[in-house]
């Protein structure tokens, strides 16, 4: 189901109409939103809570918080982004309480590609050009989304450090704009892009490795 557009006829799409419908007690709209936003809410909760049942609890708690504070919603972002932000805060604080995760350590800069795959700086003709080229993989995307390959990609995402995974999930899986991701996660624009780039580079590396690559990272 597309998270942006309701498949149910007669469900309003703009935030004003949605808020109005919720305030008037429209159950159909509420049920539709719960369904439509379940994926982004669960994904971001799962970044911090390893356990599916705990992630569902956080999603429920987030909806309760959302309803209780709806009258104070300031519309500095879309309603959907605001709700996702509530999940981020609840999930982070739950993770802290359970000491499942220490505060994100500053990760040292890591190269996008194993440095050993490039020629040395003193190479007479091609300094710092490719020595070991990327392994080609099947080009139809549908092949990457099938069965075992898809699971490998999901595993690669799950293995990311939480700070990278948060950004990747919100930007590339849920399709939030950069500015809203910065807002929700409390990141600067530059930081957001660095984390996104590292995460994407790692996932690309995992796909390459899966297809027989030599990526060491």
């Amino acid at each position: 189901m597309n998270a942006h557009v309701s498949n149910t006829p007669g469900i309003p799409l703009d935030d004003d109409a949605l808020i109005g419908a919720l305030r008037s007690g429209d159950e159909r709209v509420f049920v539709d939103l719960v369904q439509r936003w379940a994926a982004p809410m669960l994904r971001i909760a799962l970044v911090h809570l390893g356990n599916r049942a705990h992630a569902e609890e956080i999603v429920q708690e987030a909806w309760l918080t959302m309803l209780r504070t709806l009258d104070r919603f300031e519309r500095r972002s879309s309603l959907r982004t605001w709700v996702i932000g509530i999940v981020v805060n609840l999930a982070r604080s739950r993770a802290r309480t359970e000491r499942r995760s220490v505060p994100f350590p500053e990760e040292p800069g890591e190269p996008s590609v194993d440095q050993a795959r490039f020629l040395p700086a003193n190479h007479p003709r091609w300094p710092h050009h490719w020595a070991i080229e990327p392994v080609r993989w099947p080009t139809p995307e549908d092949d990457l989304l099938a069965g075992e390959t898809r699971q490998m990609i999901l595993d690669a995402i799950a293995a990311l450090p939480p700070s990278q995974r948060e950004v990747l999930v919100l930007r590339d899986l849920d399709g939030l704009p950069a500015a809203e991701v910065c807002n929700v996660l409390g990141l600067t624009d530059t930081n957001q892009r660095v984390l996104l780039h590292r995460a994407r580079s790692r996932v690309r590396g995992a796909v390459e490795r899966y297809f027989g690559g030599t990526e060491a990272k």
Binding site: M1, A3, R23, G25, E27, F30, V31, V34, Q35, A38, A39, L42, R43, L46, E56, V59, Q60, W63, L64, L67, R68, P111, S112, V113, Q115, F118, W126, P127, H128, H129, W130, E133, P134, R136, W137, T139, E141, L144, L145, R150, I153, L154, I157, L168, D172, L173, G175, A178, R193, L196, H197, R200, S201, V203, R204, V207, E208
Partner: protein, 89 residues
């Protein structure tokens, strides 16, 4: 290299700039150097295409959904919230 005024970006540096390039956040001179490199380097074109493909695949992963129990509990929550807001209560 084609443009004598622009120092070349080596492949090792280009792979670090891909997201900035895709997000259109590279300064104009760097964007030109990036594109000049791409024109000349088949391997980096492959790398960029794999990067783009990775992003497209990430956007098409299957979606999670809430359990029936959680959805039922949420509907109860919503009904309670609606009732509590009714005037006169």
């Amino acid at each position: 290299m084609i443009d004598q005024n622009l120092p070349e970006i080596p492949c090792r540096e280009l792979v670090e700039l891909v997201t900035e390039y895709l997000e259109d956040r590279l300064p104009e001179a760097d964007r030109r150097r990036f594109e000049i490199h791409l024109e000349q380097c088949e391997v980096c074109r492959l790398y960029l295409e794999q990067f783009r493909q990775t992003i497209r695949v990430l956007g098409r992963l299957p979606e999670e959904s809430l359990s029936a129990e959680a959805r039922a509990a949420l509907l109860t929550t919503f009904r309670g919230w609606t009732l509590a807001r009714r005037p006169g209560r």
